[in-house]
């Protein structure tokens, strides 16, 4: 068999490989983003005690470990019978989560996306990256680095260390904040709100400059799912599940996430290690949906903080009463969330509960626990079953990016149909496919419970199943045809 050329998909957290299948009339009938890594967490977590889950399972992902840490902690809250956390515990966890979402969104915008926004897709490959931003726009680069640092510092102070911390424990947290720590964070929060607003303004300008393109590019009509608070407010840490179709009509609302298996199932396909979740009432064919910033902003009734709420209204106005389906609007909504996180952090830093000493509650040991959280990339499900000794016997994880699996394929298909010229792949198409995927900010490694640089190559297969073209991008930025 022919050696497969390694073609990493860059500047997404993870990696992928894309095959385009042509049908009759040379239409692309299917796009396949292959997720090629597998780790087996569901199996090897079995036999471990439940209290290891929050520290062990976060090793799925070093980019948003706090999301896994907290989803697992929420599941183990249920297992230890802690039905209601103390105010201190819940607020410390929220602070940790806002810090996490702040650093993850800042990383995506400044480190991974700003090169495209500032330099365009035609820029030299050796320049179109964070180093180029540092050289050409040092002020923007500095803001990005320091915003991410601020989020990481919140994580360090609430979880013990920046990556793979230990702050959340079954039934609560293991520390609260000291006055000195709060002062340290308060010193810079006004600056962070300002920079978040600045990044959002930059994004809006760029979006509006090519408004029609950005509204149409890789745009697909889908249902969307997220958690919302009981009063319909935007919510990242804890809420009920809400799903709406492409017209904004309710599919389900305020669903207790413990029952998620009644609403969401996952299908397996031969060509990817990432499963394909769908809303069971709509069936596998039509039940796929999107999650993440775009879904959350579309689905919520309002945002509790004033600056982000004003931005939400401005954003929703472009939809004329319908959900906004533009895939590039993920970038816009991600930065509304970034702004919200800075505001929410500022509020929590003034809340006396975060210095409280009542850290933990517990009750009777239960046989299972489910924890669901809105991670930076979307709804994240953890479910564990335990025996009488508290040893895990079963685990199920639906990771944020997995929810967007079919949507990413459909966005790629849309782009391919638009930019594919007959039977030959082009550099433009290769770039556009990457831009479409990057909009979802996929954490592909995380989604397969594996991370790292996975090979990507762009293959074109005709209606007879013959591979008719393949592209590879070389170190000098030139596209090579390798077939």
């Amino acid at each position: 068999m022919k050696r497969i050329v390694i073609e990493p998909l860059t500047r997404v957290e993870g990696h992928g490989k894309v095959t385009l299948l042509q049908g009759k009339n040379r239409n692309i009938r299917q796009a396949r983003l292959h997720i090629t890594e597998f780790r087996g967490f569901e199996k090897f977590i079995q036999g471990r005690p439940y209290w290891e889950a929050p520290v062990l399972v976060q090793r799925l992902c070093g980019i948003c470990p706090v999301s896994h840490h907290l989803a697992a902690a929420k599941a183990t809250d249920m297992i230890v019978g802690a039905t209601q956390l103390t105010p201190t515990a819940e607020k410390i966890r929220r602070l940790m989560h806002y810090g996490q979402t702040l650093q993850s969104h800042a990383l995506h915008f400044f480190h991974l996306c700003s090169p495209d926004l500032l330099f365009g897709f035609d820029d030299n490959v050796h320049h179109r990256n964070i180093v180029g931003v540092i050289e050409d726009s040092p002020e923007i680069a500095k803001q990005g680095v320091l915003l991410r640092k601020y989020g990481q510092e919140i994580i360090r102070l609430t979880a013990g260390k920046r990556i793979h911390g230990t702050g959340a424990i079954p039934g609560g947290v293991n520390k609260s904040m000291s006055i000195d720590e709060i002062r340290y964070l308060q010193d810079d929060i006004a600056q962070m709100i300002g920079w978040a607003q600045g990044a959002l303004d930059l994004m809006k300008t760029v979006f509006r400059e090519q408004y029609d393109y950005n509204m149409a590019f890789a745009s697909i009509e889908t249902s969307m799912m997220s958690q919302v608070r009981a009063d319909g407010a935007f919510e990242l840490y804890h809420g009920g599940l809400r799903a709406r179709n492409h017209l904004g009509e309710t599919i389900f609302d305020h669903v207790d996430y413990v029952n998620y298996n009644d609403y969401i199932h996952e299908s397996v396909k031969d060509w990817s290690y990432m499963k394909f979740p769908f809303i069971t009432s709509l069936g596998e064919e039509n039940g796929w949906y999107r999650v993440g910033p775009l879904a959350r902003i579309n689905n919520c009734d309002f945002i509790s903080t004033p600056l982000a709420e004003a931005e939400r209204k401005e954003f929703m106005a472009i939809g004329d009463g319908l959900p906004i389906q533009s895939t590039m609007a993920y970038h816009w909504t991600r930065l509304i969330e970034l702004l919200h996180c800075t505001e929410a952090i500022a509020e929590l830093l003034c809340d006396s509960d975060i210095v409280g000493k009542d850290l933990r509650t517990k009750g009777e040991l239960q046989s299972y626990g489910t924890g669901v959280i809105e991670a930076p990339r979307g709804t994240l499900f953890h479910h564990y079953e335990v025996d009488d000794e508290g040893i895990i016997t079963k685990a199920s994880l639906i990771v944020s990016t997995t929810n967007n699996n079919q949507a990413m394929n459909e966005s790629i298909r849309k782009v391919a149909n638009q930019y594919l010229d007959g039977r030959r792949l082009s550099e433009v198409l290769l770039n556009q496919v990457e831009v479409a995927i990057r909009a979802y900010d996929p954490c592909l490694s995380c989604a397969t419970h594996a991370i790292g640089k996975m090979p990507m190559e762009l293959n074109l297969v005709d209606e007879h199943g013959e591979l008719i073209d393949r592209l590879e991008k070389k170190v000098n930025g030139l596209i090579n045809r390798t077939l």
């Binding site: 199996k43 062990l56 090793r59 640092k149």
Partner: protein, 206 residues
Amino acid sequence: MPPNTILLKNPLLMVALMSNVQAVESPAKDKLIVATAALCGCFGCHMSLLDIDERILQLVDLVEFDRTPLTDIKTIGKCDIGLIEGGVANVDNVEVLREFRNNCDVLVAVGACAVNGGVPTLRNQFDLKECLEEAYIHGIGVENPHIPNDVEIPLLLDKVHPIHEVVRVDYFLPGCPPGADTIWLFLTEVIAGNAVNFPYSLIHYD
């Protein structure tokens, strides 16, 4: 001398050696070229590298990045230093790792997974088939249950391996992940051509 693989079996000895790693000979050019890759890891080591925060502005004056997840450069050229995160779990990991070894003067195992396989090696106690069946056949809410099998997805290895079992490794930076200060000290000392001496605070964990 770089620590060899046998010494790895004695963690104390390894740390002792790490704290006295030898410097790389400075090549006759302005900047050292650095490439990074994540194999079967969690990307946390790359995030820890970014945790050097504003020092990254200094770092780009000192080094030039070749292939990393942060650039659009997709294949590796000749490099001075290669940083590898993650262990080896499939045939693609093997290929990328060998490519790095062939192109990098100095290859560094960064973090627990590269050094000893880390959390992903927990699957080594089971058959690979059992792990796949749990995810794709016996999982909760799984429909169309079967194990993915397609020419487009690479062959998994039956066990996960640390990288030194596949290629020669020059330096080991343990930790899950190694802290940003540890990575910074290592890089700056090596770049400056100095021997590296880690204070205890940089090589103790959790």
